[in-house]
Amino acid sequence: MWESVKEFASEFFVTGDPLIYGADVSIVLSMIAIVSVLTYFKKWGWLWREWLTTVDHKKIGIMYILASVLMLFRGGVDALLMRAQLAMPEMQFLSGDHYNQIFTTHGVIMILFMAMPLMFGLFNVIVPLQLGARDVAFPFLNALSFWLFFSGAMLFNLSFVIGGSPDAGWLAYPPYSELAFNPGPGQDFYIWGIQISGIGSLMTGINFIVTILKVRAPGMTLMKMPMFSWSVLSSCIAIVFAFPILTVTLALLFIDRYLGGHFFTLDGGGNPMMYINLIWMWGHPEVYIIVLPAFGIFSEIVATFSRKKLFGYKSMVFAMIIISVLSFLVWAHHFFTMGSGADVNAFFAVTTMLIAIPTGVKVFNWLFTMFRGKITFETPMLWTVGIIPNFVIGGMTGVLLSVAPADFQYHNSYFLVAHFHQVIIAGVVFGFFAGLYYWWPKIFGFKLNERIGRWAFWLWNIGFYLCFMPQYALGLMGMTRRLYTYGWDKGWFEMNLVSTIGAVIMGAAFLVQIWDIAHSIKHMKRDTTGDPWNARTLEWSIPSPAPFYNFAVMPQVTSQDDWHERKLRIEQGLEKPAKVELEPIHMPKNSGIPIVMSMFWFFVGFGLIFDWLWMAVPGFIGVIGCMVVHSFNYDTDYYVTVEEIKRTEAEAGRVIT
């Protein structure tokens, strides 16, 4: 008996690596710490009522952001481990297997469990406020999306200590990701972690499309909608078309692995090329899904801090819609070298280049928003201005890669690695940072410290250039990606060393940001205006942080930048703060079903990963049960009384007459 327990444990838990024992210990310790703090301060009930069961889009947004920062930490540690291994030739720090697992989890976590939730967090916190809405269209679904993402992410991260991590790259190309070459549970963790959170992403896409189309404030026609909301719409349209492809692709891979199918196997007539096509039909739109909202963020920030209207609104909208359509027509540029023939390559090369046109137009429009403006450089603007040259260079190398015959030389090299990090870090992540700095006071009611923020900005940027410019060079020196080691004879040492130094600086920059947050909480100065940047859109017309019902009175929108125009009218005495009639507000009730149902999904995933049907089947029954319970629950809403509204507004310093 004891022997078999021991044998089970040694296969079940990942053993034999001091790094992992360290992780085990710290996971257990932090669990104990969290549980004891909650118990000691009697906070369990509060946690459950205020957070775990909430359907308030602002709280859900905060949870998304918190989770993504944790994931940024995990992904960042992965990155530093890899850069440490590559700092010198013939380094003995990580073994091949370990390195392969780390670059795989790094990629998956950064894109799916860091960038995506950070983006969803910003969607959640800001979009309803910008639209003048009380919540998203489907608040319950929204909570469910979050918890599905969360259990997917936890499942994926668990592979680090239980069963072993996947090691086939962030897109898990077969046949390497098939059972024949990858028999362990790691690859199944990959499949189920992504599947479960992917359902959440798809539902978020639907939710925000409906929200944007259906619950805007009266008077806000689509062409009066703030640019960030437009970018969210275009991104969500891409989500709705792209994510089902991912779900199907991973399901087929799962059938291969679990039921012995031959869709993508080496033998039995399997065709791995089919997978590579399918995964990029999702994968390319995915990169635009995450970058479009960043474009929206820049547009908001540039207009606010140039004290000027956004230039070329219509062009911007048009460009984003074109990008989201075109992004579905370029996938084969990820495998020009698979020998599909000149016709196919020529077609996909040209469609890829076409994307650069609307992207370039957006940059011009930002520049001409600043032109003849009055620019100030608070942190959100600092990031935005810093991003422009960065993103322009990243876009340029994208066009270079899209020159198909030349891509035969760039493909799979560090040149490619540098390109996508430049667009994803300097475009997406920095863009989301800019958005965080910008909307932070709206979310939490106080600004972040500007001085520490500037330090973080400079460290991130300098670290970025040091880390990734040398990688372009390494690509031209013939260094291929995903190497865990290389020899002294290659001449790659210097550039790799500089690159590692850059990575360390970015790590430091992350710590500075955490310090910035801690410092700002400690020396908090409450924002009593609700509009600390003197901004232009509706979210700034209400107190910060926004009361749980958002708008005490529904705003009546008459123009683009409605809040800015209203401020002008009040200033000129054209509009008196109107006397308003408060009415009870209709709000959704909290629900425990999303978190419970997602826990069941977790068991389904975990059971299937280890082929434990005794766990998967009850898990699945639990999922169905939750659906049934929810569909018979008619007690889902309530009204906020006028007294409570008055009290809440008064607490936020607003008097309603």
Partner: protein, 301 residues
């Protein structure tokens, strides 16, 4: 701004490091130092497309700097301020127009080269091409010379100035066959035989590698591609024929087992081995460039 002094220090250091990087070790940039016609044209294309994109990029970078500098808010500023100026058809036509023109140019060049550099297109040469069959194994490259009857592992030699017809397949997860100084890569896929023409115009030893991740010791898949004179090549073939062991079918099975390998040489290989490798994965899905290979009548055991 209080930080500005530190910032200036940091950017100075940063410029210094960039300077250190860009000078020296120029001969490491092997992709930009091609030794064959394919790599040569790919390099030209890389440079041409870079120049064309720079036509847009450089003005944009300058413009960014000028605008940010000129319109920053400060006391006594003389620059214009037009808070409601939000549209200009003329300007917008200009910046839809410029990228369209540049992209059209790059597009035309790209399409042309896509056809002319099609990897399976034979190179123009008076000399008859030599065929080398490449198999990707875990984690080594097997080269077979059907005309000479020899085989090698992780080392490939061929005469200079003679087109080499590489036929590439895989008996392991998908890899990518790449000799940067001769030209671009091609995927090595099971069940398919891809054709890649390359040629060396100069004698020399060139680095070759597997460019697509295939697992644990993928990083050890480098090989040497040695271009020599015709005499040296013939002599080398003879030497291998006379002094090296034969590759048997069992020997091949041994090679397919996971593991790394040094350079190895074989005086002979089982007839039809390459064709057998390609066809054993049910070539049910030929496409584009991959040629249909006839199954060998019988594999010599």
């Amino acid at each position: 701004m209080k930080t500005s002094k530190t910032v200036r220090c940091m950017s100075f250091l940063f410029m210094f490091i960039l300077l250190f990087l860009t000078t020296g070790c120029a001969d490491n940039y092997i992709v930009l130092d091609p030794k064959g016609p394919i790599g040569e044209q790919q390099k030209d294309l890389m440079i041409l497309s870079t120049l064309l994109t720079l036509i847009v990029i450089v003005p944009v970078l300058i413009l960014t700097f000028v605008i940010v500098w000129r319109y920053r808010d400060r006391k006594g500023r003389k620059a214009k301020y037009t808070p409601n100026w939000e549209h200009s058809t003329k300007l917008e036509i200009i910046w839809w127009g410029i990228p369209i023109i540049i992209i059209t140019l790059i597009g035309i060049v790209t399409v042309r080269y896509t056809y002319s550099l099609e990897p399976s297109k034979p190179l123009e040469s008076e000399k008859k091409p030599i065929t080398i069959q490449v198999t990707n194994l875990d984690w080594k490259w097997l080269f077979q010379y059907p005309e000479q009857g020899i085989a090698t592992v992780n080392y490939v030699q061929f005469p200079e100035d003679v087109p080499v017809r590489f036929e590439v397949t895989s008996d392991a997860p998908m890899n990518s066959f790449w000799i940067p100084q001769l030209g671009g890569q091609i995927y090595a896929m099971s069940g398919m035989s891809m054709t890649l023409y390359l040629q060396a115009d100069e004698q020399g030893e060139y680095m070759g590698s597997g460019a697509n991740f295939t697992g644990k010791e993928f990083a050890k898949m480098f090989f040497t591609a040695n271009a020599t004179s015709q005499e040296d090549f013939d002599q080398w073939v003879n030497q291998v024929k006379n002094t090296s062991p034969e590759l048997t079918l069992d020997g091949y099975k041994e090679l397919t087992k996971q593991g790394t390998s040094d350079a190895r040489y074989f005086s002979a290989f089982p007839e039809g081995l390459y064709e057998m490798t390609v066809t054993k994965y049910a070539a049910s899905h030929n496409h584009g460039l991959s040629t249909r290979v006839q199954p060998p009548a019988r594999v010599k055991e």
